[in-house]
């Protein structure tokens, strides 16, 4: 009897990478703690989200990378199809067309692209492993820009940035020459005015607000002002759990979702921030280590890009909440309330675990 249980347990935990799992548990514990302060009534719902996410992670962790590679093209095409579906039939919420109602459930196809994009590009570069020509980078860029453009049109700047970043990481890790990277950087700067002219008013406002939030303290600048006040007033040690006046007296908007970092920072101060940055660095470090030891080019590129997505989530979120990046709807990975992002992130962790399980066994 005991042996049977032990066997089951072994099977259950076999594909799970203990360091990643440990970091994940610490982040989830931190999330639960913050939920208890910022929005106790959502604690139960978030725990359900967490359990679902962990289950997905465990399932994905068992899928070998080769199988995932076969899924790359269909998933990508499905994603594109859904995005077009959203553009044509999507539900509008808060002025943006992001959701697709499938009758049984509403889904946000752009979220899927965060995984589908690196998956496809990693597959693409794996195929051209032996002879990678400049033209291939061009094709990769095209494959990337189509969904990004569709998402940006919804408009959903946050997700577009994340998908763009995910694809870019693959291209970068695949070895695009520094010359071309440099050229792209220059071109991007040159194209900035054009991008500005294509942006929606609310997107422009977010950037203007970033430059001078006090110009419109009750309107567009309110979020940033209140979150920087929360962070700044937290000081070194913080005000203590549940003691953040900015958070508890409703001055912080979206305090259980995108702005939860402000709550954390107000209540746990600089010390708390350092701890969080350290945990995230561990997560990213572990991810990069897994990428470095990936068995195939596909595995390596995918692991590297997914790891960098964690970083992008974290950096964009903390950057916007602390007022150095424009406000785009990006949650703090593993901490913010919400099932969608958590599922995406857990999927990525599952893939990382799978890649780790199937790593190069001999160091050459």
């Amino acid at each position: 009897m005991m042996n049977t249980l032990r066997l089951w347990w072994h099977r259950l935990v076999d594909p799970i990478d203990p360091p990643l799992m440990l970091i994940l548990i610490m982040l989830i514990a931190l999330s639960a703690g913050m939920m208890g302060s910022a929005s106790p009534e959502r604690m139960g719902a978030q725990m359900v989200n967490v359990l679902v996410a962990l289950a997905i992670m465990r399932i994905v962790a068992q899928i070998p990378p080769q199988r995932l590679m076969h899924l790359a093209v269909p998933v990508y095409l499905l994603g594109i199809a859904l995005l077009i579906g959203v553009a044509l039939f999507g539900d509008i919420s808060k002025g943006a067309r992001r959701w697709l109602n499938l009758g049984v459930m509403r889904i946000q196809p752009s979220e899927l692209m965060k995984i589908a994009m690196p998956l496809l590009l990693a597959w693409f570069f794996q195929r051209h492993e032996t002879m990678l020509r400049l033209r291939d980078y061009g094709v990769a860029a095209l494959l990337l820009l189509v969904p990004v453009a569709l998402i940006a049109r919804q408009p959903d700047l946050g997700t577009a940035v994340l998908v763009l970043a995910a694809g870019f990481y693959v291209i970068f890790l695949a070895g695009l020459s520094w010359k071309i990277l440099g050229g792209m950087a220059v071109a991007a700067m040159a194209a900035a005015p054009l991008a500005w002219s294509l942006m929606h008013d609310y997107q422009r406002n977010r950037i203007l607000t970033l430059i001078d939030p006090e110009k419109d303290p009750l309107g567009k600048g309110f979020h940033i002002i209140q979150s920087t006040i929360a962070i700044g007033s937290g000081g070194i040690l913080g005000k203590g759990w549940g003691q953040g006046t900015q958070a508890q007296l409703d001055f912080l908007p979206e305090r259980h979702t995108d702005f939860i970092f402000a709550v954390y920072s107000e209540e746990f101060g600089l010390i708390g921030n350092v701890v969080l940055l350290f945990l995230l660095s561990l997560l990213i470090g572990r991810g990069l280590m897994i990428a470095a030891n990936g068995a195939t080019m596909f595995a390596r590129l995918l692991a590297g890009a997914l790891t960098m997505i964690f970083f992008t989530y974290a950096f964009v979120n903390m950057g916007m909440v602390s007022g150095i990046l424009p406000v785009v709807g990006v949650p703090l990975p593993f901490i913010s309330y919400g099932g969608t992002a958590l599922v995406t992130l857990s999927l990525a962790v599952g893939i990382l675990m799978s890649i780790h399980k199937n790593r190069m066994l001999v160091q050459k």
């Binding site: 937290g234 006046t245 080019m297």
Partner: protein, 630 residues
Amino acid sequence: MEFKNPQEELERFRARLGVAGGFVLVCFAVLLGRFVWLQIIQHDYYQTRAEDNRISLVPITPNRGLIVDRNGVVLARNYSAYTLEITPSKVRSLEETIDELGQIIDVQPKDRRRFKKLMDESKSFETLPIRTRLTDEEVAKFIAHRYRFPGVEIKARLFRQYPGGAFAAHILGYIGRITDRDIEKIEAVEQEANYRGTDHFGKTGLEQHYEFDLHGITGFEQVEVDAGGHAVRTLERTAPVAGNQLTLTMDAELQRIAENAFGDRKGSLVAIEPSTGGLLAMVSVPNYDPNMFVDGIDTQNWKELNESPNKPMVNRALNGAYPPGSTFKPFMALGALTLGKRTAAQTISDPGFYNFGGHHFRDDKKGGHGMVDMYKSIVHSCDTYYYMLANDMGIDNIANFMGQLGLGQRTGVDIAGESEGVLPSQAWKKKRFKKPEQQKWYAGETISIGIGQGYNAYTPIQLALATATLANNGVMFRPHLVKYVTDTKTGDQRLIEPHPLKTLPLKQEHIDVIKNAMIGVNKEGTGTRAFAGAGYVSAGKTGTAQVFSYKGAVHKTESMAANLRDHALFIAFAPADKPTIALAVLVENGGFGAQAAAPIARQVLDYYLLGKKPKAPAPADEEAVEADPE
């Protein structure tokens, strides 16, 4: 085209990973730098901002100081009542909202008019009362329907109330909502902080003059608020200090008797305690009800008050300037004695007129008074005597002397907006007129000045002050309504003006001559009928001021339009040997002073000296005449 070597490829990939890792560290370092900046370097600033967010200072308006008469009778007080208030900026359609409110709570057209006037005078984010003094039942009704009315709320407020209604309105004045001009006054004395939460301000009368005494010290409550501005809990509280209490020199009962004595006639009475300058009564009738102004007056009532030919809003005691008529004569005589122009015994012969440059200045008494000395000139109000005297003294001597008595000058009473009146002199005329031919003073103009006509125009309070100064043997006190201000916190009483303003350079023997003559007026002269059987010795002088010049025509007052009839005047003090009260009475279009004004003075003196309360307003004595009845 690139050819790939797997080993080289792996190395290159790992190098790229290293770059990516480095990028992560750099970005995290930037974040860390940002956190250090916000949480250490700028911490104090953000700490303050967070506290500012969280803590709100809510002013607690102090109770306005009471106003009581010299015996403690309350004349102005506060009461707490519920008001239904609308914040116009928070309401979608004001008209609709008021209509809907009207279905549950009684909203009169006059409430709407008043609300409209308030709106015009204030900013849209202020909350303004549509209804005041809600009953408990109305409050309960509204609360049940509150969800239907965003931007409408019930507030408990303290209201100013003048329990006497129109009684003594011109003394008390009223308060009204703060306007921009009031704010300037508040800023001038740097009281802005203390007026946070106050929305009323003294507009006229004592309420205005003693505003900063009556207001009190605003208390504050430190409350923790959430982002919606709702108070979560109280952190600290500083209690307000109620405004200081004003105790008046005025005697409410005397004031009431004086006001009632006028009946429905227009006019003014000012009674002064000669030894202090304290005003015992200050009447200006008709009155208005200052309570109407507290909640904001509606346009219709405001129009009625302002356009009424009876001018109830004018404080006649301070702002009505009237020729003194014959009440001027005792002061002329005193001037003559002081300047050596006459002795008391010196007599003139009165043929019934005074001839000046071929023009006959008529005496009221046909055929004249015969041989007239100073005593007789006052007792029988002989005009000829004063025509001559005025000519002998000259206009500038008259102006100098009367100026010392306070005529034609603001008395400095503790109510703002007092008029100066007109003290005619050569300099005055030069200033008053623009054309050179009008600027010259003609000697003929001096003649009628002698009997208190011509350019002469003084306010009732000036006449009363001159009378009180005479009664007090030349020692003048600034007339004032407030006896003392009681500090609510310490209980200290601050006396207003206990010291004499000045002592006039008069000889007591001269004063006695005049006083004696004025006693004669009430004993055997024009005041005899009014003061018959008084039971005390009083001194007085009747006066009749022409509203209209008839150029020598004999006129019958009965046949004249009421508003062209002469003004009746009377000055008096009593008891004559040790005066405790001096007064001036003016009845607009009352006819002769002895007819209309003297009986009012009698009622007032009877009450003040004997405690006798009259049963009815002072009747006009139609038998009395201005000149000696013989």
